[in-house]
Symmetry: C2
Subunit: 230 residues, 2 copies
């Protein structure tokens, strides 16, 4: 990935890296709406038009930051899962949830860029998909291994209308579990990010003060819903 051949390519890659780094810092302080190409250029001692040699538009720069963000939360999730006891499936689920929440609290603007409203005028760049799947892959692995170990509680049936969707999820995430397990996992997945978003976007203001304790308990409830015994 590194080792650009010519010197030109090397300095070009370095400049792209520097631009994204400054942009990420601005994103962290000002938010996505305050990210300005001109400000990035100013901080680099360049003129604004020069940035366009490296990013065709502001949205393209934003997309690069989105991909980096998905990878960052994916890495945090993978690390949290690896540090938990492999056979303690409920513990792994809770550790992963906590990792998502902690990353979100540390990078609120980046989280908003990933899981908030899609700002830049509705676009869903396809190249963000693989990075966006890293956390779901981890969650799927936890549930899959718990199922293989016979550690999942039995659950009610899944509507036949969802069979096609469940089959797609099963193959995309390399799961070997029945439909009713997948659909409950998806519910817990949405509940995780819904709870984090509520906390970050202010819906818990004047409602929940003991954020960490509430989060742990809610995630435990969702884990049980997914079949994970505490």
């Amino acid at each position: 990935m590194s080792a650009g051949r010519t010197a030109r390519e090397r300095v070009r890659a370095e400049l792209i890296r520097e631009i994204t780094e400054i942009a990420r810092r601005q994103l962290a302080t000002e938010g996505a709406a305050g990210l300005s190409l001109r400000a990035v250029a100013r901080e680099m001692g360049m003129v604004s038009s020069a940035i366009y040699r490296y990013f065709a538009s502001r949205d393209e720069l934003l997309t690069a930051l989105i991909i980096d963000g998905y990878n960052a939360v994916g890495e945090a999730v993978e690390r949290a899962d690896a540090n938990a006891g492999a056979a303690d499936f409920a513990g792994r689920w809770l550790a992963v949830c906590r990792a998502v929440r902690e990353w979100a609290l540390e990078h609120p603007h980046e989280y908003a860029l990933l899981y908030g409203s899609p700002v830049p005028g509705y676009k869903a760049p396809e190249d963000t998909v693989p990075a966006a799947m890293r956390d779901t892959v981890v969650l799927a692995r936890i549930i899959g291994e718990a199922h293989a170990a016979g550690a999942l509680e039995p659950s009610g049936p899944c509507p036949p209308a969802l069979a096609g969707d469940m089959a797609r999820v099963r193959s995309a995430l390399f799961m070997d579990v029945p439909d009713e397990v997948i659909v409950r996992g998806l519910t817990a997945w949405a509940g995780l990010y819904g709870t984090v978003s509520f906390e970050l976007f202010g819906q818990f203001n004047n409602v929940i003060e003991e954020r960490a304790a509430y989060f742990d308990h809610t995630m435990t409830l969702l884990g049980r819903l997914a079949g994970l015994k505490p």
Copy 2:
């Protein structure tokens, strides 16, 4: 509320109404980021500075739209709840969930303004709170009445650390239910909006196609988590 005394006050109220209406239409087509005071003024045949006689800033106009949005979804929820059989608590829960989802699908940009990332540079105007509570009041009433009717399944305990928060919620929403019921209701509440946000913000792309069927099933699972028997 109407019947401004002087003619000036009447035309002023009418102009404020017209501004918000045009702004809401622009919001619906362009999104929050594309809402432009100058464009609103242009469409009204006014000059941009004249708008500032009625709204001190773009953010203030946005806040007015936010309050209107909360009231709109609150009304939709109240109507859905009223149209369901009073004693069918699970049915009322599902009807309310569907009302939220349908409103969100019909007004995606407004929904993003309410439940997405807080765009206008982090502010939480206090005057949005009462409007934002209308839907949660309905949800609380369903669970409260179900509990009073003895229709809730028993649930595990709630951590004592959350007793203070639960007491605050209980008094704010006029609920007469124990802590463990409240915390499960909150979990279902966050799950509802998390699911709607996931669908609207693109996280279900290439994952779930049978959106309505999946939504109904997920909401039923969350309703059961809250104690509502199907």
